[in-house]
């Protein structure tokens, strides 16, 4: 008697999928925090947001063959939007403290942001803050990061350039595009609280 080894393991085939799963996982990691901000700002519950992120990951696995890693972020954002929409459909009421998109107000804010220096008291208004946050959290993950670093953390262009290992001019370009996207998001906030650009 030499070898008497029997293994019945239906999951062996998973090993050959490791490479594509790693790529998917890396792509998910790159955009997950940005999508989490998108979700948690709209549902107001970190635990619920965690559940939705799990469901988004499961959806990504199931769509692994159909969605290239490079296209994962916008696809995941669509999944997140659907999860949020489905969630609110099942609820009898939406909590009052959660932000509600106001398309007209947001479009006007988008215009004012480039045409006037908005007074501080106007910027501090709840309506202004909520529309801005809806727009910021709708940015793609890379744009979110650079906007947060510049406006929330006060990181200088030079420091950002050093952090991202790019030139300051490249940072200026990225910031410019991020601001543009933010204004576009504001101008197109829909009435579902699920704005996406």
């Amino acid at each position: 008697m030499t070898v008497s080894s029997i293994g019945i393991n239906p999951m062996d085939s998973i090993a050959c999928e490791t490479d594509s799963r790693d790529a998917l996982s890396a792509a998910f990691d790159r955009c997950a925090v940005g999508i989490y901000r998108f979700v948690v700002y709209r549902v107001g519950d970190p635990h619920l947001a965690d559940d939705m992120m799990q469901q988004a990951w499961l959806a990504a696995i199931q769509a692994e063959d159909r969605v290239p890693p490079a296209e994962l972020e916008p696809w995941l954002r669509g999944v997140a939007r659907n999860l949020i929409r489905n969630h609110w459909r099942t609820q009898s009421r939406r909590p009052d403290h959660l932000p509600i998109p106001d398309a007209d107000f947001a479009a006007e804010l988008s215009r004012r942001l480039v045409e006037e220096d908005i007074p501080d008291d106007a910027l501090s208004r709840r309506e202004t803050r909520s529309q801005l946050m809806l727009a910021i959290t709708s940015l793609d993950a890379e744009a979110q990061e650079i906007v947060i670093a510049r406006y929330f953390e006060g990181v200088t262009h030079a420091a950002l350039a050093s952090r991202l290992n790019v030139s300051e001019r490249a940072i200026e370009g990225r910031l410019y595009r991020a601001r543009l996207a933010l204004r576009e998001n504001l101008a197109h906030l829909d009435d579902e609280g699920l704005c996406e650009r």
Binding site: N9, D12, Q54, D117, Y151, R179
Partner: protein
């Protein structure tokens, strides 16, 4: 002013306004690394499992219960492998009373149905000593399971398997009987044909005897808390350092060995079938992350302590009215319907249903929780109703009673027609047509 200058002016103003606005804005709290890691720990095919995780979260004591159900018996016959289980069993021992019965009724997932029961008996606690081994906390354990797969089940169509395990200080045994093994399994593992006659008749394995041959591991589990899980793994190896194949990296110490692994687990990393792996699986459920990888960080320690506090608060069954109110509040935050009704003799029945399992999945929408308790007193039992793909139930019954010895008596299996008892490693191999 040309277009570029006008553009720059507008962009500069936008920049200034955003800088000013940011002072009034508050970002959502960033997810922790632990949190981010959990996002990708959802069972791959485990929509149901994920929802159950949410449910366990609702309970606030889920890890312990899920651990009870998912793994009833862990034996690390090879030595230190069982240490990981010690903390869990010790916590359970601390929280639960003398013994805990878990009844599994028609639990279906991924085409596999489980019925059975689990008994955990805990040792009398010595406050001055910490367990160094699982067996220090666990006095005895027993599992009895019948696993059946639907005819159209993807991996094991029609599989019908019966197993039981009894572990006491005096005797450790396992009973295994296959009522039907689908051809797909034979195709994947032709060697199983050698085992088939014995398994079809039923076999009782003396686990301690198997261990005398060298290293040995036995892990048996049935799942409900983390995706479809049904895992039975036996392995034992005998060292053969002077064997002919000593220079062959694929040969050597495993020249003589026995391994039988069965799993319906669909999570991507669940096929390894080792005690270590099962223990890790347990810890993940217990603590929501890889325990060993994170326990050294203050964040992980705090999370574990917080979780264990919740486990104890729930499982000790010594809720004060105030604690019960908080508990009900917690349930209410996730359940659309919560009712508490007196059922006589000072007992109450809490029933919660309509849990929010977010998304478009609807399979477990009918899931309900029932807790029978005495106000200011103990919890008598907990039921989870309408679980899984069918109307499955899990019943947790806390008891102060010692388990009866009959439960651990293997003779009722050995006396069945055709059942063979394997008491040593030699009999084991001779039984497979050496």
């Amino acid at each position: 002013m040309n277009d570029i200058e006008r553009h720059d002016e507008r962009d500069d103003r936008l920049d200034r306004n955003l800088l000013a606005a940011a002072h009034h804005l508050e970002l959502p709290v960033e997810p922790s690394p632990l949190q981010r890691a959990r996002w990708k720990r959802a069972p791959e095919k485990g929509i149901l499992g994920m929802k159950r995780e949410k449910f366990w979260k609702v309970l606030g004591a889920g890890g312990a219960m899920a651990a009870c159900v998912t793994l009833a018996v862990i034996l690390g016959l090879g030595g230190t492998k069982s240490v990981n289980a010690a903390a869990i069993f010790d916590s359970l021992r601390d929280a639960i009373r003398k013994s805990l019965w878990i009844e599994i009724d028609n639990l279906q997932a991924e085409g596999v149905t489980a019925n059975g029961r689990v008994l955990l008996v805990f040792t009398d606690r010595d406050e001055n000593s910490a367990p160094t081994d699982a067996n220090d906390a666990l006095a005895a354990s027993f599992v009895e399971l019948r696993m059946t797969a639907a005819p159209d089940q993807e991996d094991f169509p029609g599989l019908d398997l019966e197993t039981a395990v009894g572990v006491t200080p005096d005797d450790s045994w396992c009973y295994l009987k296959t009522h039907y093994i689908p051809a797909t399994i034979y195709a994947d593992a032709p060697f199983l044909a050698f085992f088939a006659p014995m398994l079809n008749n039923g076999v009782v394995l003396d686990i301690d005897a198997l261990d005398t041959a060298g290293n040995g591991n036995v892990a048996i589990g049935a799942g409900a808390g983390h995706g479809p899980v049904a895992k039975i793994t036996f392995s034992t190896t005998t060292s053969n350092p002077s064997g002919d194949g000593a220079n062959d990296p694929d040969d050597g110490e495993d020249d003589d060995g026995f391994e039988f692994s069965f799993s319906t687990t669909n999570s991507a990393d669940a096929g390894e079938g080792t005690v270590d792996h099962v223990n890790e699986h347990l810890h993940e459920m217990m603590f929501g992350s890889d325990f060993r990888a994170t326990a050294n960080t203050p964040e992980a320690q705090a999370a574990i302590e917080s979780h264990m506090e919740l486990v104890r608060d729930f499982l000790t069954g010594r809720f004060t009215p105030e604690q019960m109110t908080r508990f009900i509040d917690m349930i209410e935050s996730s359940a659309s319907e919560v009712n508490v009704a007196p059922i006589g003799d000072g007992a109450f029945l809490l029933r919660a249903s309509g849990f929010e399992f977010h998304g478009a999945i609807s399979a477990d929408e009918d899931m309900a929780l029932e807790v029978q308790y005495h106000e200011g007193g103990r919890i008598d039992n907990v039921k989870l109703l309408n679980l899984g793909d069918g109307a499955g139930e899990l019943r947790f019954i806390f008891s102060d009673d010692d388990a009866t010895s009959e439960v651990f008596d293997r003779s009722r299996y050995e006396s069945r027609d055709g059942v063979r008892t394997i008491n040593n490693i030699g009999e084991l191999f001779s039984g497979f047509g050496q």
